[in-house]
Every structure is written in structure tokens, then in C-alpha cells.
């Protein structure tokens, strides 16, 4: 228990000391996970919207698979991405392995199902409200989808947040495809894993506290945005 107090103290002094290494790791964590979130939204939101407005045979099965994929184990994703990005793998020519790009790649795959499945739910609820009006206006499916995505934008922020939270917190995928290389692919979670394996538990915990505060900050920012939107009745 004493190490928790020690960790808080250490976390504070780490942040205040302005140590470049720490900021580098924090920066990379944010850059990688935010990039993955943006990419996952670019892929997952249209999928979620398309399924939300479509009725087809086997839709129930698709939903089950999508929901199941939300629980993809990061380490499995990491392994699959490693096998593809490895020099001897089909995408080896890209030279992405052990770069931040590979980490973005893996995290994107990890959270696309989350974004698709959660946005499907959000947009289906919104569509229930809009559907008759859309049909009266003779909107095409594409127009319906883009309208739902735009009008659901603030609700979808929460979906993006869920994806970001999962990405920034996972270690299994990035440690395999990134390699936890100092000054290149070391992020918060892999640094925490490393310090734990060195037995430096207070430092590991201090990094964990900083990660938590970061996540809180991102969440607070999004929440503030949503509240502004709510005041305009856009939510």
C-alpha cells in the first residue's frame, strides 16, 4: 500500500520535472491511439450506419459477429498484424513492423468492431426517429447514412471515445508489432509493462496514474463538447 502513495508522489514529480522521455512516450501514446481512433471511425462508422439502415437476410448473424469482435483479444490482433507486417509476411514490403504505423494499424483493427457495433446501435435508434421523414423525402440510402452520421455526431463522439479508451489502454497488440523500442515505439502501456518487469513497481504505477489522468482529460474534453451540443439540443 505504501507503494501507491509513493507512486502518486512519483507521478507528480515526473510530470513536473518535464522530463523529455516522459513527454515523448505520452505524446506517442496519444498520437498512435488518436490516429487509430480516427481511422477506425473512418472505417467503422460507415459500416455501422449501413447496417443500421439496412434490413437483409443474416443481419442478426452479422450483429452477433460484430458484437463478438468487440472482445477481440489485443494480443491476438497483435499476432495477426505481426504475421502480416513481418518481413516474411504479405505486407512486409511496407516496412511498417516496429514503427508507430504498425501500432496504429493494429489498434485500428482492434477498435473498428467497437466503433461499428456501438455506432450501429446509436444510429439505429436515431434512424427509428428519422426513418419515416427520410422516406417521405425520398432520400437515397447514401443520403440517409450521411445524414444520420452528421446528426448523430455528438452521440458518436462517445463511440469514438470508447474506441480510444480501448486503444490507449491496450498493451498486447502494440508490444508485439511495435516492439517497445525506446524513443521509437515505446508508449505508456508498454513502458508500464517494462517497468513492471524490471520490478520498479512505483514507477510503473506512476506511469499508470499519468495514463489514467490523460484518459480523464480526453474524456472531459469530449464531455464538454457534448454538453455544449446538448445545450443546442443537438444530442
Amino acid at each position: 500500500m505504501q507503494s501507491i502513495g509513493e507512486a502518486f508522489h512519483l507521478a507528480l514529480s515526473l510530470v513536473l520535472s518535464g522530463e523529455a522521455d516522459l513527454y515523448e512516450i505520452v505524446g506517442l501514446s496519444l498520437r498512435v491511439s488518436l490516429s487509430a481512433t480516427v481511422l477506425a471511425c473512418a472505417i467503422g462508422l460507415p459500416i455501422g450506419a449501413l447496417i443500421a439502415v439496412s434490413r437483409f437476410r443474416g443481419r442478426g448473424l452479422v450483429l452477433i459477429v460484430m458484437n463478438a469482435l468487440m472482445g477481440l483479444p489485443p494480443v491476438v490482433v497483435g499476432l495477426l498484424v505481426y504475421l502480416h507486417l513481418s518481413r516474411s509476411g504479405p505486407l512486409g514490403f511496407l516496412g511498417l513492423l516496429y514503427t508507430p504505423g504498425a501500432m496504429v494499424f493494429a489498434q485500428t483493427i482492434l477498435i473498428v468492431p467497437i466503433v461499428a457495433a456501438l455506432s450501429r446501435q446509436v444510429l439505429e435508434d436515431l434512424h427509428a426517429e428519422y426513418a419515416e421523414q427520410f422516406r417521405s423525402l425520398c432520400l437515397s440510402r447514401w443520403q440517409s447514412i450521411t445524414t444520420l452520421l452528421w446528426d448523430g455526431r455528438y452521440a458518436l463522439l462517445t463511440v469514438g471515445l470508447a474506441g480510444f479508451g480501448r486503444a490507449v489502454a491496450e498493451v498486447g497488440a502494440v508490444i508485439i508489432v511495435g516492439g517497445n523500442i525506446d524513443h521509437l515505439t515505446r508508449v505508456m502501456t508498454t513502458a508500464i509493462a517494462l517497468e513492471t518487469s524490471k520490478g520498479d513497481l512505483p514507477l510503473a504505477l506512476a506511469l499508470g496514474i499519468i495514463l489514467l489522468v490523460l484518459a480523464l482529460g480526453v474524456n472531459a474534453g469530449v464531455q464538454a463538447l457534448r454538453m455544449t451540443a446538448a445545450r443546442q439540443a443537438h444530442v
Binding site: W150, Q232, H234
Partner: protein
């Protein structure tokens, strides 16, 4: 300055066959129209003919099937049996040339102006008409406000402006003024009346006998899923021919 994601989208191919466009939508012929849900017939054997021009008010007690009939005429509901024929026009065509104002307006989560921009853009209409439409419904001064913060009456006026933005040949209204303040009711009735005077065919569902008297050129009275009476307004109000309509107008409970 576009906050519409739709701007990048090419216009959708819509049935725009010139020959079909030039053919008027009316007269409307409805024969043997039936709508059943869970085995119960909600509408059964509706026969109706509507001529071009004017305002038809559909009346009837709760559960008579007024809204359902409106939605089937507009093509939002598929009949279980029978036929709706808009002068031989295809169903998709007919829907595209009509507009419906719902009892509860469904407004997009955007500004008042953006709600109109959206429809004008989606339906390939001249976007410079927006301010004129807003002025007509008295909302120009609220153009920048979020649409979903409008009062009930304002929201319904915006919904009406949106319907008019598509230049409908037929305008359906489903109890548009239920639970609105009298000032908004008057504005909406005035705008609908003006549209009728410009040649838009109006089909108006209402519960309100006073409103029906003010608006109707003719009345279709629905009772238990059928047309109980279809009369000219001059006949219907002073001397309804059917018993349910007589009871209804006399203020008696009609089941």
C-alpha cells in the same frame, strides 16, 4: 461554409422521366384498400376518388385509420390489399412529388436554416429560396438557431416550410396543429391555404371540427376503417348524410 456532409454527394438518380413528370398526379383512385396488422384489419375496403385541386379534410374518430390512410396514400405504408393509383404514376414517383407534414415534426439536429438547406440540396432545389421560405413561415429571424430548441408551433412551421421546399404537387398534413397555440394554428392554416390557392392539392387530417370548417373544400369521413361519407363541405357540415358523421359533428361519442 457547409456543415452538411451531403455536399460531396452526387445527386441521386430519382425517377425524373419527363413524360411521367408531365402527367398530373390527380385524379387519385383508391379501390379495395386494406391494411391489416397481426390479423386485425385496420383499414378494410376503402374506396375513394379525389379530383384535382382544393383541400380534402379527412375526419373521423380516434382509431378510424386516418393517419394510416394518409401514409398509404403517400406511399410510406404498403397496403395489405387493394390499390392506390395516382393517375397511373409509379409509387416511387408519386412519393417524390408529394410531401407530408407529420403530427410531431421530425427536425434534424441542426440550425433552422440548415434544416431547409438539407432538403433543398437533397432534392436538387434552388438553395437561394431558403430565406423566402423562412420568411413565409415567419422564422427568418430564427434562421441560425438550433431547430430543436424551437417551440412546438415554430417547429411545425419549419416542418411546413420544409415540405413546401420540395414543391409538392400534393401536400399531406397529419393533424399538424394538434396541441399548438392558436397563433401558430392560424399561421399554419394561412400558409396551407395559400399553397392550395397556388394549386397544391391539400389532404389534411384533423380532429378539430372548427379547423375542418375553415379549411375543407370537401370532407372524407372515416369510420371503423372504411369511408363512411365523402361529401362537399357545403353539404357535409350542415347536413351530413351518414349516422357516424352526424353523431361526430353533434359532439356525441363515436366508437
Amino acid at each position: 461554409m457547409s456543415d452538411l456532409p451531403i455536399t460531396a454527394v452526387p445527386p441521386v438518380a430519382r425517377p425524373r422521366d419527363e413524360a411521367a413528370m408531365s402527367r398530373p398526379l390527380l385524379p387519385l383512385r383508391v379501390s379495395g384498400l386494406r391494411l391489416a396488422a397481426d390479423g386485425a384489419a385496420l383499414l378494410d375496403g376503402v374506396e375513394l376518388s379525389l379530383a384535382p385541386g382544393g383541400c380534402t379534410v379527412i375526419m373521423g374518430p380516434n382509431g378510424a385509420g386516418k393517419s394510416l390512410l394518409l401514409k398509404m396514400l403517400h406511399g410510406l405504408l404498403v397496403p395489405s390489399g387493394g390499390e392506390v393509383s395516382w393517375n397511373g404514376t409509379s409509387a416511387a414517383q408519386a412519393t417524390a412529388r408529394q410531401a407530408l407534414v407529420f403530427q410531431k415534426p421530425v427536425l434534424l439536429r441542426r440550425s433552422v436554416a440548415a434544416n431547409l438547406d438539407f432538403v433543398l440540396k437533397a432534392r436538387g432545389r434552388d438553395r437561394s429560396r431558403r430565406d423566402a421560405l423562412l420568411r413565409e413561415v415567419g422564422l427568418l429571424h430564427k434562421a441560425r438557431q438550433p431547430a430543436r430548441l424551437l417551440s412546438g408551433g415554430e417547429a411545425q412551421r419549419l416542418a411546413l416550410a420544409r415540405a413546401l421546399a420540395t414543391d409538392p404537387e400534393v401536400l399531406f398534413l397529419d393533424e399538424p396543429t394538434a396541441s399548438l397555440d392558436p397563433a401558430s394554428v392560424l399561421v399554419i392554416e394561412r400558409i396551407v391555404g395559400a399553397a392550395r390557392d397556388r394549386g397544391t392539392r391539400i389532404i389534411f387530417v384533423t380532429h378539430d371540427v372548427g379547423q375542418a370548417r375553415r379549411m375543407a373544400d370537401e370532407v372524407v369521413f372515416l369510420h371503423r376503417g372504411r369511408v363512411a361519407e365523402h361529401s362537399h363541405a357545403d353539404v357535409f357540415f350542415p347536413e351530413p348524410r351518414s349516422q357516424p358523421a352526424r353523431d361526430y359533428l353533434a359532439g356525441r361519442i363515436v366508437l
